[in-house]
Every structure is written in C-alpha cells, then in structure tokens.
Amino acid sequence: MATTEGSADLPTGLKPNAIGFVDALVIGLNATSPAYSLAAVIGPVVALVGIYAPGVMLASFVPMLLIASAFYYLNRVDQDCGTTFSWVTRAMGPWAGWLGGWAIAMTGVLVVGSLADVAVTFALLAFGLDGWVDNDLVRQVLTVLVILVMTALCVIGTELSARVQNVLILAQVACLLIFAVVALYRVYADTGTLDSVRPSVEWLNPFGSGGASLTAALLLGVFIYWGWESAVNLTEEVENSATAPGKAAVWSTIVLLVTYVSVAVAVVAYAGTTFLADNAGEEEFVFALLADEAMGGWHWVVLLAVSTSALASTQTTIIPASRTALSMARRRALPQPFARIHPRYRTPDVSTWWVAGIAIVWYLIVYQLSENALFDSLTALSLLIAFYYALTGLACAVYYRRRLTESLHNLLLIGLGPLVGAGLLAWLLVESVVDMSDPANSYSGVAWLGVGPPLVIGVGIALAGVIVMFVWRFVSPAFWSERPGVAEPEPQHGEEH
C-alpha cells in the first residue's frame, strides 16, 4: 500500500494559527451565550435573592474559574479525544467516565428545548406578536419546528461563517450593555417608568440573602458560565500563542463578568424591588418586560439579541451533545449506530437526530407538566452541570496526583484549585438537593412525588443513566475493560510550559 503522507501533518484538534484575537474573544463569549443566559436566568435569580443578584452573578464564577483550570490541564493530556467523558474515563475508570459522558450529553439534550423556546418567544416579542407568545400551542409548535430545522442544519453540517458569528455575538453583547447603560441612566436621571432604586455596593455581596434561596441562585449562576471553559482550552491554537490567547481569555472573561453584573445591577435598579416582587410569577419574561420599559420603542433590539443568541446556541449545543454520543459509541460505551457518520454530510447523523428527538419529547413533557417549566428545567440542568464539572475537577486532581508535589504551581492549579472547585460544586449540589427535597423550598411550591420538580428531573435523569449503563455493561462489556491511568512524574521538568 502507498504511503499516507497527509496524515503525518494532521493537526490534532484544531488547526494551528487558525484563530486570531477577535475570534478567540468571540469563542469565549459565544460558548456561554450571554444574552440567552441572562434572559433565562436573571428573572429566577432576582426572584430568589432580590437585590443580591449581582453578587450571585459574581460568586458563581468562582467554581467555574477553578474547574476551567482542570479542563485546561486535562486538555493537555488528551487533546485527541475531547472532554469530560474521555478524561474521566482515563482518570477514574469506565463507570465514572460513562456517567460523566451521560451527564454532558443530557445537559445538551435538556437545554435545547429551553433555547428554542426562548428563541421563539423573544423573536415573537421582538416582532410585536405578543399574543402568539401566550398561546402555548403556537409557541410549542414553533419551538419544535425550530429544533427540527436547527438539527437538520447540524446534520447537513451547515454553519454560519465565522465572521457572521463574530458580528452577531459582539452585537448581542453590545445590545446588553446598551440596555444596562440606558436603564442605569434613567435610574439616575429619575426618568424611569418604575419605582427604581439606586444601586449600592452592598448588592455585590453574594451572601446577602443566605439560606436555600442563595444555593438555588448560585446553582443557576453556574448555568450562566456554562461553556466558559472552552475559551480556556483554545490557548495553544491561537495566532501569536504567547500572548493573544491568554489576552483573549482574560478579555472575554472581563467582558462576560462586566456584562452579567451590569445587566443584573440595571435590572434590579430599574425595576425596583416592588416591581420584581409583583412580577415574581412572570420571571420567565422579566427581562422582556424590562427591555420594554427601559428601551421603549427600541426594545426589539434587546429582544432580537436574545433571540439570535438562543438560536445560535441551539446549534452549538446539539453538536457537542451528538459528538459526545459519537465519542462514547466509538469507544463502545454506547450502541454502534450512534457512531454512524452520514456518508454525504460527514456528520454523526444518528446521534444528532437522537439528541433532537429526546430534546423535543423532553420539551413537550416538561412544558405540559410543570408550572414553571423554564425554571424547573434550568435548575435540573444546573444540577447535572454541577455534577459533571465536579467530576472533571476531581478527575484532574486524581489523574495528576503523582505530579502535584513537583511545584507550587502544580499543587495550586492542578490539585487544589480543581478540588476546591469540585468541592464547591458538590456542596451546591448537595445543598440544593436537600433544599429541593422539601417542596416548600422549590420555586413554585409544587411537589412531584413529594419533592421539588427539578430534583425529580435531575435524579430521574441520573437514574435513567445508571440503568442504561448497567444494561449496556452486560450487553457490551468491551468498554468496561478500560482501566484508569495516571500521569507519571516528569523526569526533569515539572511543567510543560
């Protein structure tokens, strides 16, 4: 057989030098999809902790930052094979790895319905079709259609060009900041339409409210930074990799934090506590209501930003979920059909359609059963995110355990940091589970099987995963013969960089 010349210079992962500063900045912002995250989460968070919402926004970033360090170092061991599923399998064996993969795929599946719903709702509001939003049938049919169309685009492998994405994401962040500035200006100029309150430094205290509402809000806060770690992972593929990537990661973080905190401050200040209390039942639409109040005739700008952000995110969520399924199937952790690659489009079509199918079924069920579907599914989602982030943090420390004592840098960034992050998330997880097991603490006060709905959803998904795992363990034991490994100490240099 002839030589395989081409494969020698196959880059692993991303193409080197393919990404500049702006792209790296945008990727960091895009991965978290700030406009959608804010629109989805700001209402519930404000309903939970009131004026301390900005503080919660800041505090939730801490575990994310620590876990991002774990992602960064695990990415260096295994650039070929992606994320949580393969890393955790490598560090802690097949059982933990499988559950991590399940959690990551399920988070993708669960959020798609909410993304599409927000995209549809905010688009309708932007075009002044408010009546359609209140009609559940119309909204749900449109949402299912959006999921189907976006999935078809993922299967075909069509993506917006990088430049269009850059423009869109920068425009979204600009819209959010404009909203914050206009709202705050009107607060100080006393031209607000509501009982506004002037911001105070105290709002930045995350522990201001305390108790069950604080843990619930912090858990939601984890959701808004979800995906941020992918910005950190880009580092080596960026042009001028000595400076540009680090700068881009730092800048995307600053932009993100400034956006979240300033919008949270603006929302609380402009609306005032009475408005927020009066509209507590409407928290799905608090952001839309406020955009309307603060921006007047220009509110469609903010609404459209949220809608495009959610729409773009459906694609960036479906693809990783289907690729995780692909990756699991390729290692025989899932049935072989999930590994199928469509010959024409070269995408994992079976996994992708499964993701969409489960997402649609899930969306329809939750929106039929739940009084506050968005809040319940986001909270359940946050439980899963906290679980797989904590698992990744733990995996990092476990995998590098023999190299932690090589330097203070290793001990802090590879060992202690990820462990503390994992510990914080585990604490949030346990606290929230305890709180939610009392339905009185759940947001709507509704009980499913005697406990809060998000807990039923979260535990249900975890249990479904365990059952599927055991069944597959006995049907196809191949994956379970994988053994955990460990990073051996480096003979000379403690660090690669």
Partner: protein, 138 residues
C-alpha cells in the same frame, strides 16, 4: 504530473475511481487518492472525536481504492487532509502538480447541490486546473 481523485465510497466516487484509474493509465501518471477529513463545525467539544471518526472512514475508503488501482497496475499515493473535501482536493492538486482533478457527483438537482454544498460545484469554480466530474451510473 498526477491525477488527483476525491474518494469517499459514495456511488459517484466509485465510478469516478474507475475513470481516474483509466486516465492515470492512459497518461502513465500516478494516482493521488484524497479524502478531506475536516469535520463540519470546526469548534467545540469533542471535535477531535468527530475528526478521528472521519479520518478512520477516510482510511478505510482509501484502502479500498488503493486495492482497485493496484489491480489495474496504477501507482498510488494516499492523502488524508484536514480540510473540507473541495479544499482538500485543491491542496492535494497543488502539492502533486495535478493534471486533472477527478470527482464523482451525487447526481442531485442543481438546487439541492447549491443548498447542501456540493464538492464538484465548488471545485468547478475554484480550481485552476481542469476538473473531471463523473456522474453516478444510471
């Protein structure tokens, strides 16, 4: 000079393989077999798993193509390039000083091809050297 063929085991490319083998034999040129392994959607988690799946698919496709060419006594070179198919063919054509690029078409309507992105369609516009487009058999 060489003959460059894009091969992915689709019906069109199987026929294109036979045409390319004939062309290579006629000119006495070696045949360069190309598979573009870039996954659609270059960013995001588990990209590498997707990419690796495509590289595996490309390896197995090209192995079969090499067997066919070997039988006809045409010397071959295999290129798995981390670009999308059309771009991969252009890269390989430049690298191997190609006389002609041979590709199979899916025999789709022009509208479908334009919407879904068709490799022959892109090549016909982008390539600086002749492109031989082979339709699927009836």
């Amino acid at each position: 000079m060489t003959v460059v063929l894009g091969y992915d085991e689709s019906a069109g490319s199987v026929r294109a393989l036979h045409v390319a083998v004939e062309v290579s034999a006629a000119f006495g040129d070696p045949l360069v077999l190309v598979y573009g392994a870039a996954a659609p959607g270059s960013l995001g988690e588990e990209y590498a798993a997707h990419h690796q799946a495509l590289v595996d698919a490309g390896r197995s496709a090209l192995r079969h193509a090499v067997e066919v060419a070997d039988e006809a006594g045409v010397p071959t070179t295999v290129e798995i390039i981390d670009e999308k198919p059309a771009q991969a063919l252009l890269v390989a054509a430049a690298r191997h000083r190609a006389r002609v690029i041979v590709v199979g078409s899916w025999g789709e309507s022009p509208m479908r091809g334009a919407l879904l992105g068709s490799t022959p369609h892109k090549l016909l516009h982008l390539s600086r050297i002749p492109v031989l487009c082979v339709p699927t058999e009836e």
